[in-house]
Symmetry: C2
Amino acid sequence: MNSGDSSAGGGGDEALKEAREAFINHWGAMGSAWGINRTMAQIHALLFTATEPMSTDGIMAELQISRGNANTNLRELASWGLIRSVMIRGERKEHFEAEKDVWKMFCLIARERKRREVSPTVEVLEECRQRTRGLRTAESRQFARQMKEIGDFLRLGETLLEKAVAMEESKAVALARKLFR
Amino acid sequence: MNSGDSSAGGGGDEALKEAREAFINHWGAMGSAWGINRTMAQIHALLFTATEPMSTDGIMAELQISRGNANTNLRELASWGLIRSVMIRGERKEHFEAEKDVWKMFCLIARERKRREVSPTVEVLEECRQRTRGLRTAESRQFARQMKEIGDFLRLGETLLEKAVAMEESKAVALARKLFR
DNA sequence: CATATTTTTCAGTATTTACTGAAAACGGCT
DNA sequence: AGCCGTTTTCAGTAAATACTGAAAAATATG
């Protein structure tokens, strides 16, 4: 009973450390694929799986990154509401902890992406539509219709998310399950 | 009645051209924000708003890009199913047209992102969970639980999308509207 | 208020990602 | 087979993005 067994002792800590590292790395890669800076996603994963709030220095050490990098991405994560700074008594350094509730996390991301990307897109589409609305060529009419169709789709999506995000997780999940039993 | 009026003639064509360009640019920027290469998104927008299928050369000229760049991104768009190549009689060059139905477009993107990103993530999470499952420390238990929670959330999302994507647009929209009247 | 500690900023640099263009490969045609 | 128009590939390069580290600014301490 030693290295193959994962139920106790140093081997267990090792397994946890490795699994956590795998998660942090994968979360970083996923961030990249979805237009989020890899480091920002890694810091998020690190804090999400941390049991205690961490200082900037702790994060720098863990992820082997510079102070500037850590600071920038911590501020960005805070601006999304995904982490918050907490003061630890007896410590002067700022410490950070992540929102641990997956549903709340999802709501924060949805809200922010809507605000930063979807809504501005809806505006551009509407503007494109208005600019070509009076035109009478077949091309213009088709274009204006397409702008309307994407706009309608995005607005419907926005509404759905708004409603979902306003719900308790349990309600939302129950609804989802009922819908597609 | 001249430049200010947008209802007919050359001014109208100009307005359409400008609006279309604005759409293409914005679509490209949105692509970037969501982890999709800007040029790929621009080609998509170009074909989406085109009335006729376009050749690689046409696309190169319109977006001022090289043949290699155009070719790569056209193949990538085709691999997502967002465009298809069509043969034009009398022409030897390959021509491309985009899926114009917004709901179908959404379904294609959802399916592809699920396949490429969400499902692999679910697998990693499951693996992380398994690797720490036997451990008995508080940290390990919390970590394993977190992996399960994200995994459950993503799987539920996958299921919902699968079902939605299997529906007709009209049904899906009707359902959405009913849900949140 | 002088000093120590922490945080922010940002010019310079490194890394990653995307693009070009020319050569090679392909595919039809005679 | 040999030619010709088309598409693909990919080494080299450009552009975009992310990161470092040290200096400046802010904040706390006695």
